[in-house]
Symmetry: C2
Subunit: 215 residues, 2 copies
């Protein structure tokens, strides 16, 4: 496929706002598809689709996510900093429409669980709702907000406290088979996909051919 | 699919190191699949597979990536801060093996372009190599390194200066059709996938059903 089109920074700056938003949001590649579950001090529930969850490290087990303060996700940030906990729930390919619908601007007293038709579920002593329908659910403890001054966003860091998933999805060496769990991914602002497995490879070494591993 | 297995933080802490690395690396969901291209002041080329590229904002067009200082990617960080530029090249599903092979610990005077069989390509006045075989290539200007103190990693922020891609992949409203470009994604440390399109949805509103858009 020939890369026959060149957009320079000047070309990008001249794009209409909506075109640019779609375009730039696609350029990082495929993104994780998650729902962040929170509740406020009064027990009001909130659920927000997010595609910026990123692995930060395995020990301690840390995940980051990029939060844009001037969007509807403000509720999510406020709830996380107020309660200190939140959940990350993987979106399955057969209910991506419900997940996308959580991005609508509902009234403050409406819960996205109710409006889109997903079910809150709890662990004892953990004050954030999980999504029952989600095949992989993470209970997170808020660690830190790192400000990104260039565009007024925040890298919100959390530590994994709980992992709920199907036992059959975890292989002998700790790999989690996301395909088997029917996990979706996102491109751009609004496009959902279901990944098909290509190959899992051995640890690469300079003088050795790669071996294919079982997923 | 029942989520019948529960790992608490205590269970995670007790996992053997390699099992935990595989396990935690899978829990963020599917990840973007990119090769970062750099060169040092002497013109020596470096190419590193990275799965942590994350969208930070469209205006200015910023991408972040998580760098682990104590891995082979140190070359990449040093080259980026020395030259001020780097490239992000999307990995296509038919050469994921070559991309994975860049993670081997080659000698400092070896270029991963040569050892894995990919071709460097340049834009005039831009001192970082693109991957000719990549269907979507980004030329990046280094903006800032944000330290993440909890685990000694860095969020490296760059601004998009150049976008090279097939003209036919860009839709009328600016969306980039990654499926048409045959772009791969990654799970865990070593598992590659090819996403299949499910649906693209309209902007969600509280009182309206979602409409499906053309991808």
């Amino acid at each position: 496929m020939t890369t026959n089109k060149h957009f320079s920074k000047r070309d990008i700056d001249a794009l209409p706002q909506r075109f640019r938003a779609n375009f730039i949001n696609c350029l990082s590649g495929f993104k994780s598809a998650n729902l962040v579950g929170t509740q406020n001090a009064e027990g009001h529930l909130n659920l927000a689709v997010i595609s910026s969850v990123v692995h930060l490290g395995a020990n301690p087990p840390l995940l980051g996510m990029i939060m844009r303060p001037h969007t509807v996700r403000r509720d999510t940030i406020e709830n996380i900093t107020a309660t200190g906990v939140y959940t990350i729930n993987h979106i399955a390919s057969d209910w991506v429409d419900k997940a996308h619908q959580t991005s609508a601007r509902y009234e403050a007293d409406e819960s996205e669980f109710d409006t889109v038709g997903l079910t809150p579920e709890y662990l004892s002593d953990f004050a954030a709702p999980f999504v029952q329908q989600s095949p992989i659910k993470l209970g997170m403890r808020f660690v830190e907000s790192v400000p990104i001054t260039h565009n007024d966003t925040t890298l919100l860091i959390g530590e994994i406290q709980h992992v709920l998933l199907p036992e059959s999805a975890v292989t002998e060496d700790g790999h989690v088979d996301l395909n088997r769990c029917d996990i979706a991914c996102i491109s751009g602002l609004d496009n959902y996909h279901k990944p098909q497995h290509i190959a899992r490879y051995s640890y690469a070494k300079p003088d050795k051919s790669l071996e294919k591993l079982l997923p």
